[in-house]
Symmetry: C2
Subunit: 472 residues, 2 copies
């Protein structure tokens, strides 16, 4: 058998991969040192057959075509910040990373689009656009590592979904490689296209199980010229809903954030080890962080203040603190965004990301918290969420960790979602960790159609095998 | 053979349909009098095997299951205002109309959702919401007849796509019946749901070829409290683009319309037989109708005026007329919306609905118009469109009508779209009439995947057979 560069495995597949990519782009054996399965396990080297690092769509196509012939499972790696176990691999899986396909191909100011390769990091898009007075509105905690391919395949949400939509709403064009190596390329810069099935929808949010995203065209918006934010204290959940409706009507199209934080969470986010203090007194049951992005700082701020004054007068709110400086804005948003502060207060942390219709949220969180706190091993329950999207995050502390306890907690959180018409995953996806709970969000018939699609587009099941669904 | 109620056909299929629905909901023979294939051919009775009028999702399921067993093609009828020939049937097709499923099931003010059956007419939704201070933003000319099932399956666009998105962006939940009668029901009121494949996307815009929509949940927005509009004259196409960017940044999230009308079209829309006069002098090459929907009439109007004054000062625009009264608003929008005025000026009218990236539009329309006017039988070319969406409508007058001429005109309009990354259909769909041009918008690989989806979900090809694609 030929021995290439001390490779630990010289199977015909690996030899063919090296022929396609060159030996330096097929990492095996000791070359996997320094590669890992998740940012939380960076001390441990990746377990995988090999990692391949293509530089072109054609190379991705050749890799998949080859793997398909060999019935070789291929697992996608992006920014490695996923929360559902999808990037954890075994030594039988080939890992495909598009990190070398990281070119921003074009910013088109007139079309207001950006065309990128799948390995581009979200923050690089934000940086690039600063020179063009344009905004790519997608924004979430992992922006410094999340790659285009990853956030498209997981249909990422984040902080401004209410105004600008999920990733799905921001994708105009997509290039995807199918399991058999077929390249589906539709990199158009148009908003409206009703010519046949909108195939890109299949690949957005399907967690890499139906195809590998290689390039994308995103819709951009003009950079906002004003930004106003406030923390607001509210006394009861119905008032939170009324406030959302009141502000949304008053701020019309400019309301871009309505983040709800329950009292215990607000206190935890603004006390040690947090380095930021609370802009409002403790004691209210609900705290809301709002943001408006508009066209004229002075006029927008006047309207923002006037609306909050009116809300106070109408007793919709208890109190409000308005951000008047850039450092106020940073302070206010750090409170909401720095969820590491919560994790630091947990012995064993577990995170959730559920979605239910807005009027159900108040009772659901109250009852779920009570049931969780009744579990002896659960000592803290933090709740916060993107209220306007009906999306609630729980961050839990448990005194110990095992699978049975995890499942017990999951059941408490997920149990009522079916009846409430909710979802076990608003943002993070199903991956491996939530497979057994998929039937809470989806009917048997829906899951059967998902299987049908998977079998049709990836008959050998090579793409992210075992993620979302098991297909026999 | 048994004879039921003078039916002209008593095949076993029809007998079974009558068993499912009762004889009064299976129209055949002379009972087809007064039914038609399109609003343009209301004098001619429908040619079809029968028309079935189910009242429940379960009945739709039974009908499709039966037809699937008999390999019986089923064609959907909705508001019958489509522009691509999909509702034209032969005597071998069974027509399925959900007109009896026309209940508005629920308006939920807190979730800001409406749940409806597929036979509900768009205007009925608008009417219903007037009592709730909520808006369903979808709005287009055929709103008085268009049904939910029709505008979902065609992913309708219209006048406010730029701000609120196409139908796709407004659908939260969907109930669909598949070709074999399987009911896929996911009528959730949630904005974010990343639990597995987003199956509803398959049925939105696939023109009834993959499933029959029976119910839907739509996202609503708070009713705007201010509306400002203006007609603007602009001197050159680059200025039109600059104006869009300028107004979009200045009006931030409140810009809801940016409709471009070419000079000849503007003159035709404001002279006899039109009953409305022009709010601006003729002579500019471009006229733009803008709209802003905001939260405070007085403040929003001041900002609207200030921005237009600034645009005038910067010489971005030649002139502007602002609507100050409700009757001004009606006048301004009637000019844009009453496209029957254009059709009335055509001998034989033909309409187009293409999409290209915004910076290409100026040259594309100029060159296409010149080439069209070089065809001896073409005597008028009107162009107008939703500029912010990159969507251009042509309305043509031809001195005579035949298929060869139609194809010749099509080729002129569609020829350059492939190179320009455009689409032969921004809104109207492919249906039967545009099938031969689908390959201009889509690659061979894309069309092959569409075929694969059709074969997987509807193996006997019973649903809207021959629409969009032919499948062997």
């Amino acid at each position: 058998m030929v021995n290439f560069n001390n490779l630990s495995d010289t199977s015909p597949l690996i030899e063919d991969l090296i022929k396609i990519l060159g030996a330096d782009k097929v990492l095996q054996g000791e070359k996997l040192t320094g590669r890992y399965e998740h940012i939380w396990t960076m001390s441990k080297s990746l377990d995988a057959l090999a990692v391949v690092l293509p530089e072109t769509t054609q190379e991705v196509s050749s890799i998949l075509s080859l793997c398909n012939q060999h019935n070789q499972p291929v697992t996608m790696h992006g920014g490695l910040t996923g929360l559902v176990g999808s990037t954890v691999t075994s030594k039988h899986e080939l890992v495909l990373s598009l990190e070398k396909m990281n070119t921003i191909i074009e910013v088109d100011k007139s079309s207001r689009t950006i065309t990128v390769e799948a390995g581009v990091i979200l923050e690089s898009i934000h940086e690039e656009l600063k020179n063009h007075d344009l905004l790519f509105p997608l924004n979430f905690g992992a922006k410094g590592s999340a790659q285009v391919g990853g956030f498209i395949s997981t249909n990422a949400g984040g902080l401004r979904v209410f105004r600008y939509g999920m990733t799905r709403e921001l994708v105009l064009g997509l290039e995807v490689v199918l399991a058999d190596g077929t390249i589906l390329s539709s990199l158009k810069k148009i908003i409206k296209d009703n010519s046949g099935y909108d195939l890109k929808q299949l690949f957005i949010g399907s967690e890499g199980t139906l195809g590998v995203v290689t390039k994308a065209v995103f819709k951009l918006v003009e950079a906002p010229r004003s930004r106003n934010s406030a923390w607001i204290a509210v006394n009861d959940f119905q008032q939170v809903i009324d406030l959302l409706k009141f502000l949304d009507a008053g701020l019309a199209g400019t309301l871009s954030g309505f983040e709800l934080v329950w009292s215990e969470t607000f206190e935890a986010l603004t006390s040690s080890p947090a380095t930021v203090k609370a802009p409002l007194a403790y004691g209210s049951p609900y705290y809301v962080l709002i943001e408006s992005l508009g066209g004229d700082q002075m006029k927008d701020q006047q309207q923002f203040e006037a609306l909050l004054a009116e809300a106070l007068e109408k007793k919709l709110i208890d109190d409000a603190a308005i951000a008047y400086t850039e450092s106020d804005l940073q302070w206010f948003w750090q409170i909401r965004e720095d969820v590491r502060v919560l994790i630091a207060q947990c012995t064993h942390n577990q995170q959730y990301d559920v979605s239910i219709s807005i009027p159900e949220i108040g009772n659901y969180v109250k009852e779920t918290r009570e049931q969780l706190m009744a579990i002896p091993e659960v000592d803290k329950v933090f709740a916060l969420g993107h209220l306007a999207d009906g999306n609630i995050h729980f961050s839990l502390s448990k005194t110990r960790e095992d699978d049975a306890l995890k499942h017990r907690v999951n059941q408490v959180i997920y149990a009522s979602l079916k009846d409430l018409g909710g979802s076990v995953s608003a943002e993070h996806g199903i991956g491996i960790d939530k497979k057994r709970y998929l039937s809470i969000s989806r009917t048997e018939e829906e899951i059967e159609v998902m299987r049908l699609l998977k079998k049709s587009l990836d008959p050998n099941g090579i793409l992210n095998r075992g993620r979302i669904l098991d297909v026999s």
